[in-house]
């Protein structure tokens, strides 16, 4: 089994405002999706969601504020799954609720140190 990192990206700034009920429904989709991966015994870590904003530190102590003007899509969170192959990890990623808001999932194999 190998670990694969899922990086969730979306254009969070340009999303229509949603009601508490809609937000609740989205949360449920995520929880059911993660629960479904865990039910297949393929979840290494549910990972975390990231808050908006942040800083970018560059050489020579240059610190800039996020969100980052040069990219539209921000990382909204990450999870780690364990599967035998990249294809299997990709199959799992296809069920991710991020596609409903036009986002994407980057799937990367983790290279253990």
């Amino acid at each position: 089994m190998k670990d694969f990192l899922f990086v969730f990206r979306a254009d969070y700034a340009n999303q229509p405002k949603s009601s508490p009920e809609e937000m609740q429904a989205v949360t449920k989709l995520w929880m059911d999706w993660i629960g479904g991966i865990a039910a297949q015994n393929k979840l290494t870590s549910a990972g975390n969601r990231l808050t908006s904003g942040g800083k970018v530190v560059r050489p020579k102590n240059v610190v800039t504020d996020g969100p980052y003007t040069e990219i539209k899509e921000l990382i909204g969170g990450y999870s780690i799954v364990k599967t035998a192959t990249m294809d299997e990890a990709v199959e799992i990623a296809k069920g991710c609720p991020i596609f409903m808001i036009g986002g994407n999932v980057e799937v990367r194999e983790i290279n253990p140190m």
Partner: protein, 413 residues
């Protein structure tokens, strides 16, 4: 209770109490002597009671006879007196005057001390569990082998190796210190959890033994809950879980000993007293900083005691399962989660999820799919139930599954 049931029952409840007291008295190096004395006592009981009938108070009889046998042993065995008596902790007097304290308090203290001695880190978790079942619960090697789906020899070796290890390490049977409680409580809880499950889900048709196991698990957990040093949120969560599940004990089998599934149970038979007790312990457990798997399982069990079949109930149960699976995966949890998903999100969605589980060698997997396909694709439902029937090892399960197949087939015609 009939005599032929009484001795196994007493063996189950009293064997481990006397063993605990004697082991604490003699020390871990002499478990075998304690075991021999208690076995002899039960052997004497089965012979004598068969001939002369039951004594007025069988438990008191067992205590008196085992005390006398211990004293006899000490008198007879000079070597033992020389070597062990100085080590015997709770007496400075000669062995003839040795007090063997079988009071409730000393039994409880000894069992608690035993629980923590057995869960010493020098032996593997699986050995700890086997030894706990043997010494703390009076399980025979056969029964333990059954519970772990392995053979007698494996368990026998495992128990003996564990005892040797404890003796080599000179593990003391004494009130656990706070650091030991932190280190070993998790193993103690795992053992109690497995013990309860063995009783609650066992394939055995022997209702008395099954109930005994559940009651024993509850009592041992209660021992932890009643001791200030071990009264942790996790212990309360496990106790809540045990209470909630036990509340359905009378509702889940019919007169013939056949299983009645949750959906078909007469909710009037659910035990409100145990449900209320469970609710109390669940509240106590909420003082935790971090929620354990017992917290989630107790919360799931709590929602199952809710008699109304609402959307809210199943949605909450589903989310609790989603959390639980992130802490600890097990095939049964995955299947139960999918059942809750069917109730909350509909059968079609649940079928898709179920088929991802890759548990096709598990009879419960096919029972679940049989249930999910019923009314959607009855032919497929029958196929899955038939597969489940083939894979199932318990006759109770087979009877239940056959009923479903029968129902689907008559429904079709």
């Amino acid at each position: 209770m009939e005599q032929k049931e009484l001795i196994p029952h007493l063996f189950r409840t009293e064997y481990r109490k006397i063993i605990a007291v004697l082991c604490k008295l003699f020390g871990i190096e002499h478990i075998e002597i304690a075991e021999d004395i208690v076995s002899d006592t039960f052997l004497a009981a089965s012979e004598l009671w068969g001939l002369k009938g039951l004594p007025e108070n069988p438990t008191a009889w067992l205590y008196t006879v085992s005390k006398n046998k211990t004293k006899d042993y000490l008198k007879r065995n000079a070597l033992f007196v020389q070597k062990i008596s100085p080590a015997v902790k709770y007496t400075s007097v000669k062995s003839e005057e040795l007090e063997i304290d079988l009071s409730v308090k000393n039994i409880n203290d000894s069992q608690l001390a035993m629980m923590f001695a057995v869960c010493h880190p020098c032996i593997s978790t699986e050995s700890q569990i086997a030894l706990s079942l043997n010494l703390l619960c009076g399980f025979g090697v056969d029964e333990i082998a059954n519970a772990f789906l392995t053979n007698k020899e494996v368990i026998y070796k495992r128990i003996n190796r564990a005892k040797e290890k404890l003796q080599i390490e000179k593990v003391k049977i004494e009130q656990p210190a706070l650091t030991e409680i932190n280190d070993r409580l998790a193993t103690v809880l795992t053992t109690l959890y497995l013990l309860f499950n063995e009783g609650y889900y066992s394939a055995s048709q022997d209702e008395i033994i099954r109930k005994d196991l559940c009651i024993e698990a509850m009592r041992l957990t209660l021992l932890l809950q009643e001791n200030d040093n071990t009264n942790t949120p996790e212990v309360n969560a496990l106790l809540a879980l045990i209470c909630f599940h036990s509340s359905r004990f009378d509702a889940r089998t019919n007169d013939k000993g056949e299983m009645i599934l949750y959906d078909d149970q007469d909710t009037n038979l659910w035990n409100d007293e145990l449900i209320n007790k469970g609710a109390y312990y669940l509240k106590e457990s909420s003082k935790a900083e971090e929620l354990s798997k017992y917290h989630y399982e107790a919360a799931i069990a709590y929602w199952h005691t809710n008699k109304n079949d609402t959307k809210e109930k199943w949605e909450t149960i589903l989310q609790l399962y989603n959390r639980l699976l992130q802490i600890e995966y097990s095939p049964v949890t995955a299947l139960n989660r999918t059942y809750a998903l069917a109730k909350a999100n509909g059968k079609e969605a649940a079928i898709v999820e179920a088929e991802k589980l890759a548990l096709s060698d598990n009879h419960l997997y096919h029972s679940l799919l049989g249930n999910l396909y019923t009314d959607i694709n009855d032919e497929k439902a029958v196929e899955h139930y038939q597969q489940s029937f083939k894979l199932s090892k318990s006759s109770i399960d087979k009877t239940t599954i056959a009923k479903y197949i029968n129902k689907l087939q008559t429904h079709k015609n």
